[in-house]
């Protein structure tokens, strides 16, 4: 019988966060590696092939030298799925995630990116007021905790777009806005990456869903067949724009297009776009109620 106290659980969550942050930065997921290899096989422009081969070489060097894939250690964004019987309150989970983020930054050391939004002065080891960012889901009849860490780089995050389309704009309006956003982003977000789209809900929720979409395993599809069909269509259309790797022209502009949706008000038709660069870093762990950590459980 487990005698784990909540203090041990605090430590387990902090350890998990510290490990996930560095792990995500160094070892990109297999589904992303496969998508990048596929991109290299599909690309026909000479410059595009050169870029995709360089990306491949970079990932190999990061593996061999256990170095960061990209220098931008990002803003740590966590998604937590908390079981209703998990014996640590979310306020404590948040504190532990923050402590883990700071510890990883100091111990590695990692570049600290966080600044006060007005003074632009650094606020500490990748933590600050309301940082890191944590999104919450609560799961009934469960005593576990899943944590996913997405270190989100600024080059791609700066390429975030929201449009409050109107109902009369229809689905065509949604498609046009996504296409126009990715063309205007050009090479800035390090294409080819993952286009996350949030549709429906409200303005804030659409953008949250777009962020949720970029954090899915590459190439997964929305369970709603209508939305999945839109993912396929937009993926095809985006790759016809010719923006190409690093915006220097080519066949592969995006690795994937993922869409999350919510029902909405009858007069709303919000569309949010959040871009994730080719170095689409993410790592996840499961923490059991007894404090044991399983780093092999993807979600």
């Amino acid at each position: 019988m487990s005698t784990t106290t909540t203090t041990d659980l605090d430590g387990a969550v902090e350890d998990a966060a510290a490990h996930l942050y560095v792990w995500a930065l160094k070892d990109i997921p297999q589904d992303l590696r496969d998508a990048l290899a596929d991109a290299r096989d599909r690309e026909t422009s000479k410059t595009g092939i050169r870029i995709l081969e360089t990306i491949h070489r970079n990932v190999s060097i990061a593996d061999e030298q256990k170095n960061l894939v990209c220098q931008d250690t990002g803003i740590a964004v966590y998604t937590c799925r908390v079981g209703e019987h998990f014996p640590l309150h979310p306020t404590r989970i948040y504190a532990a995630l923050k402590a883990g983020t700071a510890r990883a930054t100091v111990e590695h050391p990692l570049r600290s990116n966080t600044v006060h939004v007005l003074t632009r002065e650094n606020t500490g080891p990748n933590i600050g007021y309301r940082l890191p960012i944590v999104h919450w889901d609560f799961i009934p009849d469960w005593d576990g905790l899943d944590v996913k860490c997405v270190p989100k780089g600024s080059g791609s995050e700066n390429m975030s777009f929201l449009k409050m389309c109107i109902p009369a704009d229809g689905v065509v309006g949604i498609k046009k806005f996504v296409l126009e956003s990715i063309v205007d982003a050009g090479g800035k977000p390090c294409p080819p990456g993952i286009v996350g789209v949030g549709i429906g809900g409200s303005a804030d929720y659409a953008m949250y869903m777009a962020k949720e979409a970029i954090a899915r395993p590459v190439g997964t599809r929305n369970p709603d067949p209508l939305v999945a069909q839109l993912e396929d269509e937009l993926y095809g259309l985006l790759n016809e724009t010719g923006i190409g790797p690093m915006g220097l022209g080519g066949d592969v502009t995006v690795l994937q297009c993922h869409i999350e949706h919510a029902d909405t008000h009858m007069t709303l038709n919000p569309v949010a776009v959040n871009y994730q660069c080719w170095a689409a870093r993410r790592a996840s762990a499961h923490i059991a109620a007894d404090g044991s950590i399983d780093f092999d459980r993807e979600f």
Binding site: N58, N67, G153, K188, T241, G244, M246, L248
Partner: protein, 200 residues
């Protein structure tokens, strides 16, 4: 797609003029790391950079480093951990000043410069190099040493002097003859969008 090797800082403007948009370049010598806050200090706060930028190659970067020592005046020595390149477009407005006032001849970053950079780069004999963004593990292996760090209080957005070997591959994104790959790709993509919209 020609391949060139160029050593920086340059003394002969011909080293830049021979480069054409789309060419691939490998860089040797010394390059200078610079970022948003560094340039805001120079141009918006009017502080002279404590480093000669004549003929220089500037890299848009803010590296991951480890401080290894400090001298009597408090100046640090740093070793590299992971050095990569940031998005250039945020810093486009400094291009003309860098070329005209300080003699910078090459700017390297990722994602390109918008069209507003084309005219000053042509007039001043400057070039924009596109690096493969995100490929920082590779880039780090090509930086031999961090030789100098100035304006440490802006960490990590200091002025960095790196000695490099076989730095690249770099693609000439904007040349000194008025050509920009970014302009061409955007123009074609906007034409394509019209066709795609007609299909929706």
């Amino acid at each position: 797609m020609a391949h060139h090797e160029v050593t920086f800082p340059i003394t002969d403007p011909a080293d830049i003029l021979k480069l054409r948009a789309g060419d691939e370049v490998t860089v040797q010598g010394h390059i200078i790391g610079i970022r948003d806050r560094t340039q805001i200090r120079i141009f918006d706060q009017g502080v002279e950079p404590p480093m000669n930028l004549g003929g220089a190659f500037l890299l848009h970067t803010a590296p991951n480093v480890r401080k290894v020592s400090e001298d009597a005046e408090g100046r640090g020595t740093y070793e590299k951990i992971c050095i990569g390149t940031t998005t250039s477009a945020r810093m486009v407005r400094f291009t003309e000043g860098l070329g005209e006032q300080y003699g910078v001849r090459a700017i390297c970053g990722k994602g390109g410069f918008p069209d507003v950079a084309i005219e000053p780069m042509q007039r001043l004999g400057m070039v924009y190099f596109a690096i493969v963004g995100g490929a920082a593990a590779l880039e780090t292996t090509q930086i031999e040493e961090i030789e100098e760090v100035l304006w440490e209080e802006l960490m990590p957005e200091c002025l960095w002097k790196f000695r490099v070997k076989d730095f690249g591959p770099l693609i000439v994104g904007i040349d000194a003859h008025g050509n920009s790959l970014y302009h061409d790709v955007q123009a074609r993509a906007h034409e394509k969008l019209k066709e795609l919209y007609a299909r929706l």
